[in-house]
Symmetry: C2
Subunit: 340 residues, 2 copies
């Protein structure tokens, strides 16, 4: 924005037409469908040539002001340094770029107040829509946004608010796949290490686990760690799991998986001899671990693609009915399963 921009007026002067006509010519260029304002082909060509020659770029601020649209989308994640979220961020950025949208990123760090702060900033900055990973206690904020009809989609986690787009993993299925796989490998006592947080995805993973273990005739037991005091808390939880004699562990999230496997290592437990393990999400972190780690693989591409598609659709047509899309997990095998 430093230089004097070459404007529509300049083109108009040079082409000997009105600025309005230049605008028409420029905007009809692409949408060869409707063409509400027909511009003489020769005039149009002349205009387009001049625009190209001067490398004309429309001023976004002016266009936003006029159109009340900024072509900006706000993406609010839990923590962009978490592999799962940074993967999604990266893909949303790429796809948005191609759709000619800019993306603003923010991290809540699981704090509902921060979430609200970021939402407001993004909206004040003119974001046309939002993609949000809601945290605990965010029902209120989300409900307010829904009432204001802000185009948005919730990602990864559900929140008890109606009339909102949602893109979620089939978390129950994910947990079931893991439990079944462990049982097939002869594990008798599968424990689950989870968070105390009240998040839908975690709760569903837990219930999928509980159901599945019960079906197999086992006794489910969920151990919950603190998000805010991860390392220490996971260490205690792992001790409890070992004391109870579990021979397999399903971790509920990627951060728990990493911390848990680290804690197991520190306590001298071998994977899978002492305890089999299924992680949630793959991670580069596992690459340096001597034993390959089995994990639930989330469809990151689909998350990004679907979420972006839904916001843009709603921006284009605010009346559109809201959708909930459930994505399917996949289980990736590894030595940590034991006995395969």
């Amino acid at each position: 924005m430093v230089e004097k921009h070459y404007t529509i007026k300049d083109i108009a002067r040079e082409a000997g037409v009105s600025p309005a006509l230049v605008s028409f010519a420029l905007n009809n260029k692409n949408e060869n469908g409707s063409m509400r304002y027909k511009v003489n082909k020769d005039t149009a060509k002349r205009i387009l040539d001049i625009a190209k020659a001067h490398n004309y770029k429309p001023n976004n601020a002016a266009r936003s002001l006029r159109l009340r649209r900024s072509r900006t989308i706000g993406v609010i994640l839990s923590d962009i340094s978490n592999d799962f979220f940074s993967g999604i961020a990266r893909r949303i950025e790429n796809e948005a770029f191609q759709a000619n949208y800019s993306v603003l990123f923010g991290s809540t760090d699981e704090n509902a107040e921060k979430l609200e702060l970021i939402i407001n900033t993004f909206l004040d900055n003119g974001a046309d829509g939002l993609i949000i990973v809601p945290c605990e206690n965010s029902e209120g904020v989300i409900a307010r946004l829904a009432k204001r009809q802000i185009p948005m989609v919730l990602l990864d986690r559900d929140v008890d608010v109606a009339d909102v787009n949602k893109v979620l993993l089939d978390n129950e299925l994910a947990a079931k796949m893991a439990v079944q796989r462990l049982c097939e490998n002869g594990r008798k006592s599968v424990a689950m290490v989870s968070y105390k947080m009240e998040l839908s995805n975690i709760r569903h993973r837990e219930s999928g686990y509980v159901d599945s273990v019960s079906e197999q005739g086992g006794v489910p037991k969920v151990y919950r760690a603190d998000y805010s005091n991860l390392e220490e808390s996971v260490k205690e939880v792992i001790e409890a799991v070992e004391a109870d004699g579990a021979d397999a562990i399903l971790f509920a999230t990627n951060s728990l998986s990493v911390a848990g496997i680290k804690a197991l290592g520190k306590r001298g437990a071998s994977i899978p001899e002492d305890v089999a393990v299924v992680a949630f999400d793959g991670s580069e972190v596992f690459d340096l671990f001597p034993t390959s780690i089995a994990y639930i693989k989330q469809p990151i591409e689909d998350f990004a693609h679907t979420a972006l598609g839904l916001v843009i659709d709603q921006i284009d047509n605010p009346e559109l009915e809201k959708k909930t899309v459930l994505l399917s997990p996949e289980i990736i095998g590894g030595e940590s399963l034991g006995g395969e």
Copy 2:
């Protein structure tokens, strides 16, 4: 941008004053220094109260159009899923937020054409300034930006263009610290694993290494891998290093460190018994490795803080003399050093 905004005009009507006065009142609120346009204290209070009551938010598009400033900064990194860059991104985002700037992110994937594409998009979108991690062959683009006086700062890597702000690590020093430490621990033959890429930071790390090994009376040898074919290429490089009988390796970047340690593991080499190792940048990835890894620690906070400060300064005052800031590394010990 969905709802009808409550505007300055609305406030004016409600307060019974002109829109201009509202604007003055609103804008003088903060800068208690200059106060070019004095507004009657009572009037001002009335205006501010009304604004607050209606939760008035200025329309950014209008302000940008008028001011020719968007309060947006574009940050272009090599790859945002790399720990070093995502750490920097995260911190820039936070600091920018507090300075009331929005940040746009992009990744070049080390491709100069993509770099130019992203730069243009950001500039078209009205970015006031840029923070750029230049890649190979980007001298041209950077030089053009410099000529156009676009406020910017180069981060992490130098490029041979004058009159540009730069924030760089003292890469020679970093390599020297690593070599010295390894020699102190009795290593006789320190190899360096680097990239073929023509990047200033890598070249300086190499020359620091070469100088330092020579000073110690050793024979420096730099092995270079391909960025585009990392895993495979590093594997070959590691074989060569082993064949040459090196008893220590200094890695030139974090991606090389991870790939290299992985390759060593696969070949059954033990760290530090067979070969001592110093990585570049710490990484969560090392947490699951049985041996703690020594590494060069880059001052990520300083990178983010300094770079952001420099762009904002230059946005505020384009005439400002350009600066180059050299940051100091630190070496973090670990079992991988051997013999400590």
